[in-house]
Symmetry: C2
Subunit: 236 residues, 2 copies
DNA sequence: AATATACTGTGTATTTTTTACACTAAGTAA
DNA sequence: TTACTTAGTGTAAAAAATACACAGTATATT
């Protein structure tokens, strides 16, 4: 990068990041919403998001926002679209870069219940079916994120982040069914999942159920990473 | 959208759009580069792109920039990623929203040779293999765009925009081979393409070749649009 | 101890899709 | 007429996706 002539104006941008954070709990898909504590849209429900600091990259900003609301770090986040309609923000031109993330609810010990920030009064997990009208264009942003996730899960196993560390195949299948909104065939589902080669069978069984306990599985991160190397390819 | 309390500050953002514009000519993939006429990076090669106006949406900005450089309107452009590293722009915090587009070279009568703008001295089609070092982080942006295109074309027929209106199957195959950087099997390729059901066979043949002329085909936009409805789906 | 309950875990046959592979036909140029 | 160059075509084999049903096992109940 070259030295800047001092004559050039200095730019100071204002833009935001919004995060669609998916969680899965009690058989339901949820997203994390905040109740805003600032104008505009004070007291409205909104996606977690905020203006980006001058000295943080987009990815870092997304991580920070997630951290402030959940206490979690190091979660994989995917930047999926940038929204920039002229009137999307009442205070002027504010474009927003949108990310989605998936985190496990239920048994995540690091997950804080309350936000570590003051632009949100509170943060709450809301089932997808009960989404209220959101501030700004956040409903649009959510819809796009969900569409992206639904699409992607059809050919890439991205949903593991939503499950507890140890899970049964039935739980995994149920998660898929909720995301895709359709019933799947048990045997074919298992065949497909095992074929991905990213599940590790544990010597352990489900506990606390009043019927035959299922085997537990773990998600093998190393093999998962390798899977992503060999990309889709056109036939010869 | 609610009325804004006058007490709130007014935001004025500065951000840019950069376009990776693919063309295909004489069997080669090219992209459109400009030679910059402004600081910073005056005289450097760069992706066509500029600061976005306060009153235009992202998509409109992308369209405008394409128009200013090529004289073309109504070209499909896909927003694929937003780049926001802290130091990517020497004048301060300027994030850039990146789009790619595909347009037909060779026989496109509306395609102007020279830019209709003054931030670029000239605009030139450069073969992908000869790309120079570009201004800002534009090499990174290009790489990501190309990766996206390569990936996407493996399962969606997005390359038609690059060909002349009437084309032979061999030309189409050649285009695929260049993008994917591998040889494809002629019979299998034809089978697959015909199966998409978006090609219309014309009662017309190639002209001016010194060997048996091939049938010409046209791309059927209506069927193409319909194809996109039925999305990828997980097996039952 | 017997029985009811509820979910686990498994295999095979069929269909569809993908892949591999090579020669004749048609037009042009000499 | 012949040589040259590309067009155009089919089939068999392999791989992947789909459809489909029942016995096994842990727990709870009586």
């Amino acid at each position: 990068m070259r030295a800047v002539e001092t004559i050039l104006p200095k730019f100071d941008s204002v833009f935001s990041i919004d995060c669609v954070i998916f969680g899965f709990d009690e058989g339901e898909l949820k997203i994390l919403l905040i109740e805003r504590n600032e104008e505009p849209f004070k007291d409205w429900w909104a996606l977690p998001g905020y203006l980006v600091e001058q000295d943080e990259s987009l990815d870092n900003g997304a991580e920070r926002i997630l951290y402030e609301l959940t206490g979690l770090r190091g979660i994989y986040m995917d930047q999926f679209y940038t929204f920039g309609d002229v009137n999307r923000h009442p205070q002027g031109r504010v474009i927003t870069v949108a990310y989605y993330a998936m985190i496990r609810l239920g048994g995540n010990k690091d997950l804080k219940p309350a936000p570590v920030t003051n632009y949100a009064k509170k943060a709450v997990w809301i089932p997808l079916n009960d989404l209220p009208t959101l501030a700004f264009d956040h409903n649009t942003i959510f819809n796009r994120a969900f569409e992206k996730v639904r699409n992607r899960i059809s050919y890439q196993p991205i949903a593991f982040e939503l499950l507890p560390e140890k899970f049964t195949l039935t739980q995994l299948q149920h998660l898929y069914e909720v995301i895709l909104n359709k019933k799947l065939d048990k045997r074919n589902f298992r065949k497909k999942m095992m074929n991905y080669g990213i599940l590790k069978e544990l010597d352990e069984k489900q506990k606390g159920v009043s019927y035959r306990a299922a085997k537990l599985y773990k998600f093998d991160k190393r093999k998962y990473a390798r899977l992503f190397q060999k990309e889709l390819s056109f036939s010869k």
